[in-house]
């Protein structure tokens, strides 16, 4: 198992501190051993020194005191002994002066000095028990005889040494040694520390400083500086090489990662990494976005996140596909599934992945995959499916063409309406099949302009069928554009409006024609009069408007009934139509009133022939089914153009006025409207001719 790395490098011990501690410890240890050695040596030396000191004192005092004893200079030798004791700090001294003893009548004169704990000496001249107890504690003692110049035994001196001195000296030795050890240890430690710091640790610290100054990913920003010493220089070079390599690898990794992220971002794919055995799963931001969430909103994140969001119906299918992938039956896992969006609706995702690592037992371990939001595609598929149904079953003809106008498909209704088999029109140009000669080039441009501007054109269109007939249709052409706005297809949908056209024609006929005679009625007359005026004005010729009223019709009608009257009217209408030119119009205003339009006359008189024929034709007897009747007609004529110009209504009224004049002048004649008296005498000629 990988050793856990400490979170913070400050938790690691300092190499400088540890090394310095070890150096100090070693130095202190060595010096302490040395101190122990010095202590034992010093003890032996001090002990020997004390003993030697005692013997030297004995020798010196025994030699020095002898003359004083011989001279009975008691105070002198006592002073000498006191001086020696003060100098040598012996524990005690005893002098037995035999000469002085003789004077005193005693075996000897005793002079003694005993040092107390305060360092002061006290005298004693008797060996009292307390004195003896004190002397018994002496560490070392030695005595020497005092011999006079003639070898006479003058006395004896004994020196006592206590271990106080030994202890004090040893304490001093220990103290001095400890101080020395301390001073040397500190000095050596400081020196070693300085040397180590200068030669090694400063370099290591420089490396440490360089390595500490790192970016967010823990890679040092600056290279390790070069060093004076070979080992450190090699180390520095090695680290820098590694850093360069790491940085290059990282840059490459960044580049690849950036590419991968760009690809993922570009494809707007959600990604997931799934530890199959632990359930631990990592999703990217897009994965959550597809379902309308942020990653934080989905926490805690695991494979359950997916299972909770997935549609239960799809989840089972997903599990089945996964299992097949795990068993090796599928190279990849791929499943279209629904996820519940945060807003509550379902979004479709294309869930794809592959196991990348397997454990020792062959069980899947790590699996990686993507989510692709295919909701739009699914919606499009549904639309297409629905459109396909419409396409197949619609009663309207539907033509799919490419942007270039080639027919890509047609439905069955198209074939039924136009007679073209589907196979016959596929890949044919639309216009070659469906264009009608009756449409001008402008019309075609209008259609294309509408498609370009609005994306649609709708209108009536006469389709040329395979048999050459024209099929009236209500056509809608829609331009199907790509996201970029480019036209990809055109969809043409047309419905057969033949029956509508027939009905329309019937209605139009009813509105414009007299139902009895089949002649244009007043409405159609108005239109044609307007047209004739405009045409006359355009062509510069003459229009004659003839107001015609039958003479005697009322009597026939009253005498023989309306049926006879109607039958008469129908016959006379037929006679008028037979007389008039193609361009002429005869209309029934109502009752026995008619109006005849005579356009394209080179002059007014040109109409006299026609007028004459009309008078003749109308006045001839008419054989009806049961009888023959006869009537005549009074005609009033007005001309266009006039100065000043007049409109159609005035023109018609003028003709009416002229007809009235004809009626007044005896009927069965023609009167021309002329100026102030409203009649033109000259125009009476025809009437005169008739007469």
């Amino acid at each position: 198992m990988m050793k856990q790395v400490a979170a913070n490098t400050s938790d690691y011990p300092s190499l400088l501190g540890r090394t310095t501690f070890l150096v100090v410890a070693v130095i202190a240890g060595v010096f302490l051993l040395h101190a122990v050695y010095v202590y034992s040596t010093a003890r032996a030396e001090i002990t020997a020194g004390i003993e030697q000191d005692v013997h030297e004192t004995l020798e010196r005092l025994s030699r020095s005191i002898a003359p004083f004893i011989e001279a009975y200079s008691v105070h002198e030798y006592e002073s000498l002994i006191a001086t020696e004791m003060a100098l040598k700090q012996h524990f005690a001294v005893e002098l037995e002066d035999y000469e002085m003893g003789r004077i005193l009548g005693q075996p000897y004169y005793l002079y003694g000095q005993l040092r107390h704990q305060n360092g002061q000496y006290s005298l004693f001249q008797e060996r009292t028990p307390p004195v003896q107890n004190e002397l018994a504690q002496a560490f070392y003692q030695a005595s020497a005889p005092i011999v006079g110049g003639n070898e006479e035994l003058l006395g004896k001196i004994r020196i006592y040494a206590s271990d106080d001195l030994l202890v004090a000296k040893l304490e001093r030795v220990v103290l001095e040694e400890l101080l020395t050890v301390l001073a040397l240890a500190l000095t050596l430690s400081a020196l070693l520390g300085t040397v180590l710091h200068r030669s090694v640790f400063r370099s290591i610290v420089a490396i440490d400083d360089a390595l500490r100054n790192k970016d967010a990913e823990g890679i040092p920003l600056q290279p390790v500086p070069p060093f004076q010493y070979r080992e450190l220089a090699v180390l520095s070079e090695g680290i820098n090489t590694m850093l360069d390599s790491i940085k290059a690898s990282r840059e490459q990794l960044k580049l690849e990662r950036s590419r991968l992220e760009n690809i993922i971002s570009g494809t707007r794919s959600g990604t997931w990494a799934w530890n199959v055995q632990t359930g631990e799963t990592v999703y990217n931001k897009r994965w959550a976005e597809i379902a309308g969430y942020t990653l934080d909103e989905l926490k805690p994140i695991s494979i359950d996140t997916w299972m909770n969001l997935a549609h239960p119906d799809d989840l089972q299918r997903s599990a089945d596909l996964l299992e097949r992938h795990f068993r090796g039956e599928l190279a990849y896992y791929e499943c279209e599934a629904r996820m519940r969006h945060k807003d509550g609706h379902w979004v479709w995702v294309l869930d794809r992945g592959q196991v990348q690592s397997w454990d020792d037992q062959g069980q899947p371990l790590l699996m990686y995959g993507t989510h692709q939001d295919i909701t739009e595609r699914k919606r499009a598929e549904a639309s297409l499916s629905m459109a396909a149904g419409v396409f197949r079953h619609a009663r309207e003809g539907i033509v799919l063409t490419s942007a270039q106008g080639r027919i890509l498909d047609v439905n069955a209704a198209f074939s039924a309406l136009t007679g073209y088999a589907r196979e016959h029109v596929l890949e044919q140009y639309y216009e070659d099949i469906l264009a009608s000669d009756q449409y001008s080039r402008d019309f075609r441009h209008q259609v294309l302009a509408s498609l370009d501007a609005k994306g649609v054109w709708s209108g009536e269109y006469w389709i040329r069928c395979q048999n050459g007939s024209l099929l009236p249709s209500l056509m809608t052409i829609a331009a199907v554009r790509s996201r970029e706005g480019e036209v990809e297809h055109y969809v043409t949908l047309f419905a057969d409006i033949s029956h509508l056209k027939q009905t329309e024609e019937q209605l139009r006929h009813i509105a414009h024609y007299d139902p009895l005679t089949g002649l244009p009625n007043r409405l159609l007359l108005g239109e044609r009069l307007q047209h004739a005026v405009a045409s006359t004005r355009r062509h510069g010729d003459v229009l004659a408007v003839v107001f015609l009223d039958l003479d005697g019709f009322k009597a026939v009608n009253d005498t023989y009934g309306h049926a006879t009257g109607d039958e008469l009217l129908v016959t006379l209408a037929r006679r008028m139509k037979g007389i008039l030119r193609e361009c002429d119009t005869v209309a029934r205003l109502g009752g026995d009133e008619f109006v005849v339009l005579l356009p394209e006359l080179s002059s007014g008189p040109d109409c006299k022939i026609i007028l004459s024929r009309l008078l003749s034709a109308l006045s001839e007897p008419v054989k009806l089914l049961e009888r023959t009747v006869q009537v005549s007609a009074s005609l009033g004529v007005s001309f266009y153009p006039q100065v000043p110009d007049i409109d159609a209504e005035v023109l018609l009224r003028q003709a009416d006025i002229a007809m009235y004049q004809a009626k007044q002048r005896g009927k069965n004649q023609v009167r021309f409207f002329n100026g102030l008296d409203h009649t033109d005498d000259a125009m009476a000629v025809p009437a005169g001719d008739q007469e």
Partner: protein, 326 residues
Amino acid sequence: MKHSLVRVFRALPVVLILMLNPAPDAAAQERTLAYLVPDIRIPFWDIMARGIHQKANELGYELSVHSADNLARRELEATVAAIDSGVDGIILSPTQSAAAVTVLKLAEQAGIPVVISDIGAKSDNYVSYIESDNDQGAYDLGELLVAALDEKGWMDGTVGIVAIPQKRANGKARTEGFMRALEEHGVSTAGIYQQADFSYHETYEFSRRLIQDNPQLRAIWLQGSNRYRGALDAIWESGKTGQILLICFDAEPEFLAMIRSGDLVAAGMQQPFLMGETAVEAMHRHLSGASVEKFQRLPVLPVHRGNLEQLLPTIQRNVLGNPSQP
């Protein structure tokens, strides 16, 4: 052999008592004093012993005098003898101030008070210390010598000194007092020699060296009196008699004539008889329960030709120990 000698020396004080106190009064039978003297043969100590005897007799003390003949052993033996004899007090003129320490220690152990008369002791366990005012006496001598040199117009001359041992308190005091007087008058010293054996030859030799080594020498000062002859002989042999003055501390009987004749400029005369008397008085006061001054300095008489006759009665009694002479 030694024991027989001890007995002899222990019997000596009795002899001296018989010699010095042929008719003791009745009161002295109860109180006895011992005087330990370095050498009774020396006039100074003899005169002091007489002063002690005089005063002891007056105060009714029986006195035994123990001369050590300048031997420490004998001084100690005398001390032990005095202690053993049960004296009430000891008057001590020690052979050396150091030797007095042992005497004082033995006396103290025996509970016997000690009054020291001259010399001094290197301890202070005594009742009183009687001494001459050596410093004052020496200063006065210096003044007298300066006056004599000035009178002769020899103030630019130098003065040589033959001193007693300077480790002794009296020697040191004499040198300091004398030097102070010379320094006050701008007189230089030619050198100083310390006596060791107090012999004639020693004094002669020191004087000869001073004369030989110091052509400007105009005076020799002897801190002791008994070997003055050596100095005089050295001056005479150098041919400078009359050109080099002689001045002495202490006194000898013949000094009176020498001062009168001018052979001796002056002498600082201690008063040993008075010192002995003063010591006994101090002991008496102590034994009587009165307070006693620890130190008592007696004046040294600066005797020169100008005051000799005036001081002669005092000199005779206190200096020369002749109380009966006028």
